[in-house]
Symmetry: C2
């Protein structure tokens, strides 16, 4: 080893020891008579000291030749530090240097390797190996590592077996777009990279493995929105001989265990909320419960009073914002601008101030007198000083818009503290959702989700009314995972594919292997998948997953560091029997 | 839960308990008055009992309607078993059945779900989910799971961090053939699936992560020999500020730990052997040390005696097989046939029997008298009763041939006991090997391996003589893993690429990111990668890795179960800007 200790290891008890350290030069402070060098490695920083008159002149000269990020191996003696640094774990000691060996030099990095760097996003992506040296990224990856270890520890303790499923599988047009892999040995044919190991984990249940898990990469070739990655990691799990309750309990246990082990937080029992209730109260299936502002539906008191906008709306719905009656005209205009942004898409915003003197001031005073507005306030359970914000429109659309406004208000009022964790299960999802574009039903989770037994009869005639034993784990307004009880009966699976518009041939070609498997003793089973990148970010109180992935891609799906994707040789294309079309050929 | 206990859980202490079990019907024995059902799940088998006159008639009727592999949930009471079955962990009890619920029926499986099945390879691949129900496969996957847990436990304890590296990377023509992934967002460009995370783990060292590991899938698009898979799993590791000795010690520790934890075997200190010595003594860089039969080189005593075959050979070399002087003509002919097989490729085999009476009988008596053969025997340290087997030819070729013969003799004499483990390090590999086809040097391990410092000067002028700090872990004649100290200096890496025949542009295009990284303070580093599938098979004493992979592909790279690869739609091809060429178009 090129060291006796790491740079995060030495303490007062080590004083007088002769040591060898290796690491990177973080900083040099040259005060003439005294030179301090901060030496850094993964484990910490140790201060090295040189003193004119005490240290050899040649060593001082060598020290002065060092630059930031040089890699050195040093020898020296541990001494007590006069000015202790309580921020450093090694802050009680420093090293009286006796030797420096330069293991590698460094050009000046294109950005500073500090907690707050001066490097822009693109530059840091290109030099990811330097960005990864910074504490925030290092801590993110170490947290991720700990999270994976603890996840495995929990699941192993519960009798789950990690089984690796294949990456070269089969393309199915259902769901998102697949990445495909041309086969050289079977020309004209392609593998696909898995969007999830869904069918394989179900086959493992058919095979009797009882409890499966895997921390596994999944792939989706989607146009990348901010903070989506073409490859991402899932905690993928499946259990046999269980009902929904068993799965919720098992993974509620896991989440609590992880919060306890990693954040030292005792998470209380998770709330459960039906999909319908979540939509009605928060306008979303992933409500942020760190704050209230539940929706109140106002049709009863707001419609039929001559205000055409309301009268034409399917739903008039609002939130009550505590203590914001004092909002200025400018502030209210900004909120109106917010809801009118194309991402939100409302036509306008109605407000009602409940003044401290008990009077009301609203943007619809023309249509609603003080008495009418008082009845709104009662609906909202509002108090003097509160601000009621109301939107109207088609039910599903207006709920979504108001959800955005609610989150925005939560943000403005600092009610969304990342260190406050509110987790819940959203349950009783619809099995299907209608797609206006393709004019057919899509599976809300995926085509393997079982309808609730009491709803099965309606699968063909009222498919939209069928609920599923499907559930999402939501923390602080983010969907961390989701799952369901699966179909384990061939006939039901066939009916499901038919409802989704598959012909029998299509269903057989794509999923015949699974339906065949169901004929050989498939047990009742169900499972869940959690987004691991997202979970890691959540545990660090961060919104973006990018810092929790060692080598992420940008929004164009490019790895700027290795400059990929890239062209391949004609020999490679020939071997694959493929031709790349020029844009004009298409 | 659809059970109170698993099928492997109930013991004598549970007698009189009312229980619920779920599982598969393994076997029904109907003796008229008594019916026994073996109920199976992942955890074991529990015997269920029905008795005419005691059990309800309707229940007996239902039991008689069950078939093999039906999935049932049963209720009953635990009772003491009269005829105990010591082979079963539940063999002291059975269940007095009170209820049967059929959860799913099963068609008759296409092969028997028994330890020794009647199903052929192809059938079992197609119905992999049924094959996986059999104990041998289940135990293989459970062993693999345990191995991964213990591997992580060891490495975590040594301060290694698991970091996930990307699967969508960049194609490089060096090494084996890449699987490529067309990019839709960057048309005409491709990602490649990693053959190993080599460059990424080195970048993690540049980034200061100090100790990295990952259990990771790797991909190689090679024509599949028996027991090769296009996707396979590696234990991939890298360390900074180390020399070769540190790496060998760390991973010798890991192997010993795994043998201890999983096999309860105390592995002795690993032997170390140089590549040159391994080639000289065993004709291979992965010697099986479970038995001796070291090579003896006979040029000195065998050449120049008028036997043209020997005189024309670069090397005359043989092994001494203890106690086999009694081999018949027929047995010797079979050995000759063996070495003449195209896979071995020798022209013939020379034998010398050292008879019990001290005389010699050889296939070259014409050229070598008793005195000459006695001098051979002295070379071989042979005793009366031994059989000397000698091959001759071009040095490297004949060594390879004799290695095959040595292994064959070890096999015949049952010296290759799978429960006997002999592990060693093969070290001091050549940096490069000459390729007669392409007329250039190839990297023996990969182009990132560092030459030994004392050999660096010869890189350009005598590249073939340069040794590397590269090492392989070999157990029982199988290469389980290999690694090296890496280049961490940009200039040396450039020289290495030049030696391998890269133009500067090619090197820059493919590996510029790595060489750039080396300019920003790259630490000395090195690592190793172990074949995880192979390791698991080794721990089970098995030769084939296929049973240690849940869903393997066949030799044509096909998954027979899901029928993949398969054609994709024209829409998919259009979106990717690709055209599949008909065979005639090429």
């Amino acid at each position: 080893m090129l060291r006796t200790h790491t740079c995060g290891e030495l303490r007062k008890k080590d004083v007088n020891k002769d040591i060898v350290l290796s690491g990177w030069v973080q900083r040099i402070r040259d005060k003439g008579g005294l030179i301090w060098i901060d030496l850094r490695d993964r484990y910490g920083i140790t201060q090295l000291l040189l003193e004119e008159g005490h240290s050899p002149a040649s060593l001082i000269k060598k020290a002065r030749s060092l630059g930031r990020e040089f890699v050195v191996k040093i020898t020296g003696k541990v001494i007590k530090r006069i000015a202790k640094n309580p921020k450093l774990s090694t802050g009680e000691i420093e090293i009286d240097l006796t030797g420096i060996e330069i293991l590698n030099s460094s050009k000046i990095p294109p950005f500073t390797i500090e907690d707050n760097t001066d490097g822009g996003e693109e530059l840091r992506m290109k030099y990811r190996y330097l960005d990864l040296r910074r504490n925030p990224l290092k801590n993110s990856l170490l947290l991720r590592h700990k999270l994976s270890l603890e996840t495995r520890k929990y699941l192993d303790g519960k009798g789950f077996v990690e089984v690796e499923t294949p990456y070269l599988i089969k393309s199915t047009p259902e769901g998102a777009r697949d990445f495909v892999v041309p086969s050289r040995m079977n020309q004209g044919e392609f593998y696909a990279l898995p969007q999830s190991p869904q069918t394989f984990k179900q086959l493992l249940m058919v095979a009797g493995y009882d409890r499966y898990y895997q921390l596994v990469k999944c792939f989706r070739d989607e146009d990348l929105r901010a903070d989506r990655q073409p490859e991402f990691t899932q905690i993928d799990c499946e259990m046999s001989f269980v009902d929904q309750e068993d799965i919720l309990n098992t993974f509620e246990g896991m989440i609590k265990y992880l919060f306890k082990e990693i954040k030292f937080i005792d998470l209380p029992e998770l709330a459960r909320m039906s999909f319908d209730e979540a939509m009605q109260l928060y306008g979303t299936d992933k409500p942020d419960l760190r704050f209230g502002m539940e929706f109140k539906e106002l049709n009863e008191v707001a419609k039929g009073k001559g205000f055409r906008v309301f009268d034409a709306a399917g739903l008039v719905v609002g939130i009550n914002v505590k203590g914001c009656a004092g909002y200025t005209r400018k502030q209210l205009d900004k909120l109106t601008d917010f809801v009118k942004r194309p991402q939100v898409g409302a036509k306008g915003l109605v407000y009602v101030k409940y003044n401290d003197d008990g009077s009301f001031k609203s943007s619809v005073d023309k249509f609603f007198d003080q008495q009418a507005l008082k009845s709104w306030a009662e609906f909202f359970d509002a108090q003097p000083g509160d601000l009621m914000l109301v939107l109207s429109g088609e039910t599903n659309i207006v709920r979504k818009q108001l959800s955005e406004l609610r989150l925005e208000m939560g943000e403005r009022l600092k009610l969304r503290n990342p260190d406050n964790y509110k987790a819940l299960w959203v349950v009783d999802f619809p099995l299907l959702e209608w797609d206006n574009e393709t004019h057919r039903y899509h599976a809300m989770h995926h085509p393997f989700t079982a309808p609730k037994p009491e709803d099965v009869d309606r699968l063909e005639n009222q498919p939209g009314s069928v609920k599923a034993n499907a559930y999402d784990l939501v923390i602080n307004g983010v969907e961390i995972g989701g799952g369901s009880i699966r179909i384990h009966n061939r006939d039901l699976q066939k009916r499901m594919f038919a409802t989704l518009g598959f012909t029998e041939e299509e269903a057989q070609k794509q999923f015949g292997f699974l339906m065949n498997a169901f004929e050989y003793g498939a047990p009742p089973h169900g499972g869940i998948a959690l987004g691991f990148d997202r979970l890691a970010a959540m545990f660090a109180g961060k919104d973006s997953i990018r810092d929790f992935i060692a080598f992420p891609k940008n929004n164009a799906g490019r790895d700027l560091m290795i400059d990929s994707p890239s062209t391949i040789s004609n020999e490679q294309l020939d071997e694959l029997g493929l031709k790349v079309l020029k844009k004009t050929e298409k």
